[in-house]
């Protein structure tokens, strides 16, 4: 947000950057071959809902298409609200490519309907020596690793190593203070 906007007190939410979402596809291969993390059949999109009937229409359209693709590719979905009233579209499919396509579809529809600003994050779950989430920050257009440990701790060491190894394969958020954890995700 520009300095002038700040001076005049204007607030605009940044638009979603969806173009880097696909980077996870190729990165998943390296993750598996060199680090032993396999896709765990689950992904999700986290959305900040808006009080507006246009948003409700967009959401209905998302659900419609999710139903279609469920028949088509066998991707299961559920839509849930978490305790902070954010909406989660949770997808499950053993085929990782189908998950990536599903996430892409959800974010694309919302962006086309003018609600790209409400896309908070996309999350992919991986399994290896620990459970690993790659979180895509739509506002930054970059991924970051999230490895929850016991309680509300995170395995920072592991996350930093993942960053170091994967930095060439996918766009990774450079500012580690923006590696926002997301506790209690519905996946």
């Amino acid at each position: 947000m520009g300095f002038l906007d700040a001076l005049l007190g204007k607030t605009k939410l940044p638009e979603a950057k969806t173009d880097k979402l696909f980077a996870i596809s190729t990165a998943a291969i390296t993750l598996e071959t060199t680090l032993g993390y396999r896709p765990d059949g689950a992904a999700a999109v986290c959305i900040k809902p808006v009080d507006s009937s246009r948003y409700d229409a967009a959401r209905a359209e998302v659900e419609e298409l999710l139903k279609l693709s469920m028949k088509d590719t066998g991707t299961n979905y559920s839509i849930q609200k978490d305790e902070y009233h954010y909406v989660w579209v949770v997808l499950s499919d053993p085929d990782f490519e189908d998950l990536v396509t599903g996430v892409q579809m959800v974010s694309q529809i919302l962006t086309e309907q003018g609600f790209g600003t409400q896309l908070l994050a996309a999350v992919y779950r991986f399994k290896g020596e620990a459970t690993l989430y790659w979180i895509y920050n739509f506002k930054q257009g970059a991924f970051y690793p999230f490895v929850p440990d016991r309680g509300r701790e995170r395995d920072t060491l592991r996350e930093l190593r993942l960053k170091a190894i994967m930095a060439k394969e996918m766009p990774i958020e450079k500012d580690e203070s923006r590696w926002y954890p997301m506790w209690g995700m519905p996946l």
């Binding site: 001076l7 007190g9 808006v50 009080d51 009233h85 954010y86 908070l120 994050a121 506002k139 203070s177």
Partner: protein, 280 residues
């Protein structure tokens, strides 16, 4: 808002020109005040936190608060501020800190008890918008010369004007300086308060946009402003701009012109308009 800023600028330039024209030894005062305001600006976060009895909390002490602020910051692409809690039953919240990386957002235990999660989130978004809009900086700059005028008004009767006056009409000069400073002081306060009300509207608007739900802020404002509690606690913080509250510590009452916050009805009406915009 632009007009208010412009008028304030014109007023201050005229005042500076006047001080220079009067061949002032008051430059010392200006430098002194400048230094003082700079320090206040620089240490505002620490000063306000200690004067309010606000304590910076860690994530393990306030996990829900952290999660709410974090998601709002992520959605609006803002850096994460520090988070503080004030132990008082009075429901209020404020933001302080000289820039985005030194920002602190504080809430009272009273507001956390009274509001539900979504209302609290709306209040947090309001404060985050203050941070994003650099309201601390805007209002500190706006207050600077006004404070000098105030000092001249308050101290001139005792110290006289500018030591030895070569034209020998020291008394006349002092009287003129007093009157001019008084006018500048009063007019600038009205302008600053007007500006402050604009910033509040902007913060309300920002909160509505960031949360996507103007109704939550409306019900939060209605809940907090309905309170009838002792206001003494916050009184000492009023005065120099050092924190940006969700609702005024002291309600202006008599004169709307001097109020730092718009009246509740106007804020609710503005938020309802945003609700219509979101629908359109």
């Amino acid at each position: 808002m632009l007009l208010t800023m412009f008028l304030l600028g014109v007023l201050y330039l005229a005042f500076l020109a006047f001080l220079l024209y009067m061949n002032v030894s008051q430059i010392g005062i200006i430098l002194f005040m400048g230094g003082f305001m700079f320090l206040q600006y620089f240490y505002s976060d620490k000063m306000i936190l200690s004067s309010m009895g606000a304590k910076i909390v860690s994530e393990s002490e306030a996990p829900r608060l952290y999660e709410m602020v974090r998601r709002l910051c992520q959605n609006a692409n803002l850096p994460m501020p520090r988070i503080a809690v004030v132990r008082t039953d009075m429901a209020n919240a404020f933001a302080t800190g000289r820039n985005q990386s030194h920002a602190v957002v504080a809430v009272t235990t009273g507001i956390m008890n009274r509001l539900n999660a979504q209302e609290l989130e709306a209040v947090l978004a309001h404060e985050l918008t203050h941070v994003k809009n650099r309201d601390m900086m805007v209002l500190t700059i706006a207050t600077f010369l006004s404070s000098i005028a105030q000092i001249i008004v308050q101290w001139l009767p005792f110290i006289g004007f500018g030591g030895d006056d070569r034209e020998g009409n020291s008394a006349g000069g002092a009287a003129l300086a007093f009157v001019v400073s008084l006018v500048v002081w009063i007019v600038s306060i009205i302008l600053i308060r007007t500006l402050s009300r604009y910033r509040e509207f902007a913060a309300d608007r920002g909160a509505a946009i960031i949360t996507g739900q103007p109704a939550n802020l409306i019900s939060a404002l209605q809940k907090i402003s309905g309170q009838r509690v002792a206001r003494e606690d916050l009184r000492r913080v009023e005065g120099p701009v050092s924190a940006l509250f969700i609702t005024p510590a002291i309600s202006g009452g008599i004169m709307k012109l001097f109020s730092t916050h718009p009246p509740l009805e106007a804020r609710v009406a503005a938020l309802e308009r945003i609700e219509m915009e979101l629908e359109a």
